[in-house]
């Protein structure tokens, strides 16, 4: 069961069920997903299975995708914002092999999008499902290591410690320094960790037409945000939540108000900022949008 997908000597995944998981495991995960949808933001325990890939590769998200996917689905997998990283390609190939499903890099065509880190820039639509690979599902874990205690805090809606932590940020840095996995409150009740997504993407979770499912393999938790659900980033009246701002557009496609990655151009410190969402960037360039760098190249 612990075969690597990439290892040269890895035995073929011999006899497997459709979408790899056995039916009993799928039923268990499916029940957890329905509970998660019924209790938005609450972490449902589940009996996570070994998957033929290491934990760091998003086994929680892979199990959720395996439990929901069917022959009619079109799957997109992104890591950071890119479809072409090793992790994304491996997971995509895994599902092509074990579920024989169509895959795509186009956000608009996908019915299921599995992600680590990013929410696509192209607005999601009703009927799409976004599956997050989550490393640490418990937003209170760094404040309280004991599971029995964090459960109690969620049960009693005792989220004061979380506000204290954010306020300490303000005292130390003059602003809330948390930029990834920025905690949100779901439908006015549960405080939830939106996985390691940048806080830039938090507003996209609010009232999204898509269903959002979160799977944490090592920590054995599944949680969900139904479509059209209130998702509010925690903040203070005098320090309202703000997303990262980039002071320039994408160098390749000229997009503004998107999340940019810094890319080093040479070893003399040359660098550029480009869309982290590669599909968004490519789609824009194909439509004729040109950024600063593209314009320079065209002028030469």
């Amino acid at each position: 069961m612990s075969t690597s997908l990439k290892g040269e000597n890895a035995p073929e995944i011999a006899a497997y069920n459709f979408a790899y998981l056995d039916e009993q495991t799928k039923r268990m995960i499916r029940r957890a997903i329905l509970k998660g949808i019924a209790i938005p933001g609450y972490q449902v325990p589940f009996a996570s299975r070994e998957m033929p890939m290491p934990y760091g590769w998003g086994t929680g998200g892979v199990q959720v995708t395996a439990a929901i996917i069917g022959p009619e689905d079109v799957l997109k997998v992104i890591d950071q914002g890119a479809d072409d990283t090793t992790n994304a390609v491996s997971i995509r190939n895994f599902f092509r092999k074990v579920a024989d499903v169509e895959t795509t890099t186009e956000t608009a065509r996908a019915t299921i999008i599995q992600t680590r880190h990013r929410i696509p820039e192209t607005p999601l639509r009703e009927g799409q499902t976004l599956v997050y690979q989550v490393p640490i599902p418990e937003p209170l874990r760094f404040l309280e290591p004991r599971e029995t205690e964090t459960r109690k805090m969620h049960a009693l809606e005792e989220y004061g410690l979380m506000h204290v932590k954010l306020y300490e940020d303000i005292a130390r840095h003059g602003h809330i320094a948390t930029t990834y996995a920025y905690p949100v409150k779901v439908e006015g009740r549960y405080v939830m960790d939106p996985s390691p997504t940048p806080k830039f993407d938090n507003p996209k979770m609010h009232m999204s037409p898509a269903l959002q499912l979160f799977g944490a393999g090592r920590e054995k938790r599944i949680y969900a945000i139904p479509p059209f659900t209130e998702v509010v980033s925690l903040d203070f009246e005098d320090h309202p939540f703000e997303i990262q701002k980039f002071d320039r557009p994408c160098a390749l496609c000229g997009a503004e108000q998107v999340y940019l990655d810094e890319v080093l151009l040479d070893d003399r410190g040359g660098r550029m900022f480009v869309c982290s969402d590669t599909d968004h960037c490519e789609t824009r360039r194909a439509a004729g949008h040109v950024g600063e760098l593209g314009a320079k190249e065209a002028a030469q």
């Binding site: 459709f18 957890a32 949808i37 019924a38």
Partner: protein, 200 residues
């Protein structure tokens, strides 16, 4: 008796369960929306094909099942036991799922497992067979997944349903979730859905 019990399950268990689950997942995600159940089953009398498909999709030997009086008896429990492995729950409070054929005469919702404040997921999911999802008194639905407002008109409903459902809402995050199965398909009322009546 025995042959009644062993025929009529999913003809393609893997894909039938997947398509039925997606109908359920969509129905939970968007309360009020109705989703066809494409997988065919031939359950014994009293148990509808749709409710049987839901049971075969979600139930197994990890999920004790409560049957209402209309379904109690060797034939239905034998059929469900054979096809899903699910055992009959001793009391409604022990049930992970409840299958209900006589929805109008259902016992009070607070008899079923409500979950705990720490583990609100440890609650009963009730699968209610209804005659229709569109020809009853229209209900206005609000809450996650409804995009402002949705509607559903199931009939029949349990006694004092609106009042019982308000109490269920008040227990949040504890509470039960409902799966309504009719010939038109399946619709769901998760515990987050608030229900009002349309006043003429």
């Amino acid at each position: 008796m025995l042959s009644e019990q062993i025929i009529g399950g999913f003809s393609s268990p893997v894909f039938d369960a997947q398509s039925t689950f997606r109908a359920l997942m969509d129905a939970f995600a968007r309360p009020g929306s109705i989703h066809a159940i494409k997988a065919g089953t031939q359950p014994p009398p009293s148990l509808s094909a749709g409710a049987a498909a839901v049971a075969l999709t979600l139930c197994d030997n990890d999920t004790p099942l409560w049957l209402d009086a209309a379904l109690q008896g060797a034939v239905v429990s034998g059929w469900l036991g054979f096809h899903s492995g699910a055992a009959v729950a001793a009391t409604p409070a022990d049930a992970h799922f409840a299958l209900v054929a006589d929805t109008a005469n259902l016992i009070a919702l607070d008899n079923f497992a409500q979950g705990t404040q720490e583990y609100p997921d440890r609650s009963t999911t009730l699968v209610l067979q209804v005659a229709s999802l569109t020809s009853g008194e229209p209900l206005v639905l609000e809450g996650p997944g409804t995009n402002g407002m949705a509607s559903l008109a199931p009939t029949p409903l349990p006694r004092h349903f609106i009042e019982q459902w308000k109490q269920n809402n008040a227990r949040f995050p504890r509470g039960v979730d409902l799966v309504l199965v009719a010939p038109e398909g399946v619709a769901c009322l998760p515990r987050t859905t608030r229900i009002g009546i349309v006043r003429a």
